[in-house]
């Protein structure tokens, strides 16, 4: 069982990451719609993203925000709807956080490096 202070911090982090995600999702969708108006191949995408530092920075923030936001929400769902024990849900949340972080940053590296 986590302490009250930790629970409050997690809640706070989830709200902060939600704010970051709100901006990231809007920018992400707007860029997709704008960039793919006339059709876009994988090669053309990679041509624009390789070595693109702002692109890498933006999607790194996106990935980190997801890795913070998603596991906290899934933990709540596991406890409240699936009736998991708090401890088991926390362990699963940490695993999901690490998986999202590693897979996400790996993808950013693959596309932008």
């Amino acid at each position: 069982m986590s302490t009250v202070a930790t629970q409050v911090k997690l809640w706070y982090w989830q709200r902060l990451s939600a704010m970051a995600l709100a901006i990231c999702v809007v920018v992400h969708l707007a860029v997709i719609i704008y960039a793919s108006r006339g059709g876009l191949t994988a090669g053309e995408i990679l041509g624009r993203t390789h070595g693109n530092a702002p692109f890498a920075a933006f999607y790194s923030v996106f990935v980190v925000a997801c890795a913070v936001h998603v596991p906290i929400g899934l933990k709540t769902i596991a406890v409240e709807w699936l009736r998991w024990r708090e401890r088991n849900a926390s362990i699963a949340a940490v695993i999901i956080a690490l998986a999202l972080l590693v897979m996400g940053l790996r993808a950013v590296y693959a596309v932008a490096a």
Partner: protein, 238 residues
């Protein structure tokens, strides 16, 4: 008005069932009138709770057609579907018998939320001077008319999901005290109402605010507690 109504009333404990009674229909009839008629004329073994009959005491809340309501101020005409009323005990509370629930856990949670006033003055001190239109007093006034009926507690999904969740009424009470200039229990109270058993478990669905018969807004109170506890956490006071 001459057509009777059919009241399906919960009988027994948690594993009980509904029993239907035919009740004469009257103008301005309340749901409590229906239950009282059944108990006095059809089945004296029916257990239910009421006291004031005028919306002050908070004892007569029941689930009427799936919605928690104060039955003494709920007109049959407003809630009846067809000619049938389905009357059950409040949700999320153990059923003692028929329409009577055990409300101990509901009120114990007020204690756990530090819902009692903690004063710092003695009778030797002067009166506290509280400006009626200060933001704190306005926030406290918005929640002080709670009658403790348990409607919000029965309406809240999170109460059903988390057994230790303090619930809207207890958190609303805590928020009125957080805004009471005379109260000195602030830090202890904020610690009591923070976290997954307290205000941070609220999903802001607003069922408590929708069904509160006194038209209070526990959702707003809980949002206020979230802000207050976030500030306390920043100061390292949690």
């Amino acid at each position: 008005m001459n057509e009777p109504l059919y009241a399906a009333i919960w009988r027994g404990k948690a594993n009980g069932s509904f029993r239907t009674y035919e009740v004469p229909r009257h103008e301005s009839q309340t749901v409590l009138d229906v239950v009282t008629y059944v108990q006095r004329h059809l089945d004296p073994s029916l257990a239910y709770r009421f006291a004031c009959r005028v919306g002050m005491c908070g004892s007569c809340a029941m689930t009427v057609n799936g919605t928690p309501r104060w039955t003494c101020r709920t007109h049959v005409a407003k809630v009846m579907t067809g000619n049938t009323l389905r009357i059950a005990p409040l949700a999320h509370l153990p059923i003692i018998r028929d329409l009577v629930t055990d409300m101990r856990e509901f009120f114990d949670k007020w204690k756990r939320a530090k819902g009692e006033f903690a004063g710092g003055r003695t009778r030797c001190d002067d009166f506290a001077r509280v400006t009626p239109n200060s933001p704190e007093r306005v926030a406290a006034d918005a929640g002080v008319e709670c009658i403790g009926c348990g409607v919000c507690y029965a309406a809240c999904d999170v109460v059903g999901w988390r057994a230790d969740f303090l619930g809207p009424a207890a958190l609303n009470r805590a928020w009125t005290l957080v805004n009471d200039a005379r109260d000195v229990g602030g830090r202890v109270r904020l610690r009591a109402v923070a976290g997954d058993a307290g205000c941070h478990a609220c999903h802001t669905q607003g069922s408590c605010t929708q069904w509160c018969p006194k038209h209070l807004a526990p959702t707003a109170a809980i949002a206020g507690l979230k802000r207050a506890t976030a500030k306390a956490a920043e100061r390292g006071e949690l």
